[in-house]
Subunit: 135 residues, 4 copies
C-alpha cells in the first residue's frame, strides 16, 4: 500500500534528530498546509517559566518548511521573520503554516503558533518566510 502524504511527512520528521529530541509531531500535512505540535516539557522553558522563544522559532521554521515542501518537494527554510506576541505558557505548542504563493523553486508561507492549556488557546507568535526547493 502506498505511503500517505502524512505518513511520508512523519517519516521525514522522524529523520530530523532535533525534532525527535524535541518531541515534535506532524498533526496534518496536505497541499499548502502543515501543522506541527509539541508537548511542552520543563526543558523547553526559559528563566521566567515560559516556553523559550527558540522553541517557538524552531517550530515555526519547521512548519513553514513543511507547508512549502507540500508544494516544492524536498525544501528548506531560506529565511523567515517571527513576531512574538504573547508569553507562551501551557501544555501544548501548535504551529499552523500555509503557503500564500508557490513558484517552481520557492514558496512564501505564513505561520501562526498557538499555546494551549486546559482552558485556553493563545496566539503566541506569527511568522512569514521563504521556503526553497533543494535537489
Amino acid at each position: 500500500m502506498a505511503e500517505s502524504m502524512l505518513d511520508y511527512g512523519r517519516r521525514i520528521l522522524s529523520e530530523q534528530p532535533f525534532s525527535a529530541s524535541m518531541g515534535t509531531q506532524l498533526d496534518a500535512w496536505s497541499e499548502d498546509l502543515a501543522e506541527l505540535s509539541l508537548e511542552v516539557r520543563p526543558d523547553h522553558l526559559q528563566q521566567h517559566g515560559f516556553v523559550h522563544g527558540g522553541v517557538i522559532a524552531y517550530l515555526a521554521d519547521n512548519a513553514l518548511a513543511f507547508a512549502g515542501g507540500s508544494r516544492l518537494g524536498d525544501a528548506v527554510t531560506m529565511e523567515f521573520k517571527i513576531n512574538y506576541i504573547k508569553p507562551a505558557r501551557g501544555n501544548l505548542l501548535v504551529a499552523r503554516a500555509r503557503v500564500i504563493s508557490a513558484g517552481k523553486s520557492q514558496a512564501v508561507c505564513l505561520c501562526e503558533v498557538f499555546v494551549e492549556d486546559e482552558t485556553e488557546v493563545t496566539l503566541c507568535a506569527a511568522a512569514q518566510g521563504t521556503i526553497w526547493k533543494i535537489g
Copy 2:
C-alpha cells in the same frame, strides 16, 4: 566580591532550562555585545546531517536578547528575522550579536552565526531583531 557581568549572564543562561538542555555557553557579554556558542551534538541535526535551522534560530534569538539586554537589563526578543546562508556542518556553532541602536525600552540588534570545524569557520546565518525591556 561583586558578580561580574559575564558571571551574571552565565547565571541567567543557566536558569533557562532550554539553553541548559542545548548545552549553550555564554562566551562573552559586554556593553552592546554578546557571544553564545554550543557544541554541535547528533540531536541538533536535521535529516540531511546539517545543524537544524531551529537550533541556529534559537542561538541567534538568544544572542540578540543578550546583546540587547546588555543595554536594557531584563529583556526579551520581540521579533527577529533570520537568513540562512550556508548549510551548517561542523562541531561548534557560535552566535555573535551586537546592538546597533538602543533606547529606553527597546534595542535593535544584529547577529551573525558561524559554524566551525577543525579547519574552517563558515557564516551560516544572519539575523536582525528588536529586543524589548521587561519589568
Copy 3:
C-alpha cells in the same frame, strides 16, 4: 455631524505629503482592517516596466500602520518585513492589512499587496510588521 472613521483616516492620509504625491487613497478603514490603493503611474515604475518595489513597500508599510492605528490611535510602523511575490504590472495597486494581535502599545499586522489590470488580480507582495503607538 461627527467625522466618520474613514473620513478621519482620509484626512490623516491627506496630511502625509508623500502619500498625496503618490496618489494614495484610503478605500476602507475599520477596526483591525485597512485598505489603501494607488493608481499606477509611469513614475511609479522601475527599469523593467514593473511597479518599483519601493512603491509596493511604501504602500504595505502605510497599510500596516493604518491597520494598527485602528486599534492603537496615533501610531507608526516600528518594523516590517516584505516578500515580493510576483512582478507587479497593472493599473492599480491595492494593499489590504489586518491586525492579528493588538496590545496597549503595539500591534502585529499582516498585509497583502495586489496589482490589478483589466482582467486579473495578482498577489504581488506580503508583509508582516509591528505598529507602535505614539504620544
Copy 4:
C-alpha cells in the same frame, strides 16, 4: 572609453522612473557595496514632518538591490526587513548597503539608512534582505 561601474549603475538608476522622480543619486557602487542618497523634499514627508517611512524603505530596498547586484549582475530584491530606529528629520537621506554573503543566484545584504542635517548624522533605519539574480 569603457563605461565605469559607477556610470553603469547611474544609468540603471536613471532608467528607474520612480528613482528619478524621487531624486535618488548613486554615490558609490563597487564590489559588495552601494550608497544611494536623496535630498529630502517636502513631498517626502509624513504628517509629523519626518521623512515618510515609505521613502526610507524605498531607499533601503534599492540600496540592498544595488549591493547585491554588484555581485549578481541584473538582480531584484526578493525580500527584506527593516527596523525604523529614529524619526528622520534632515536634509539628506543616505542608504549604505553591503553584501554579507553571495552565491550564484542570491545574495544576503545589510543596509543602514542615515539622515543628515547641518550638524548631525543620525541612523534612522537598518535593513536586511535577499537579492535575487534575474535573467
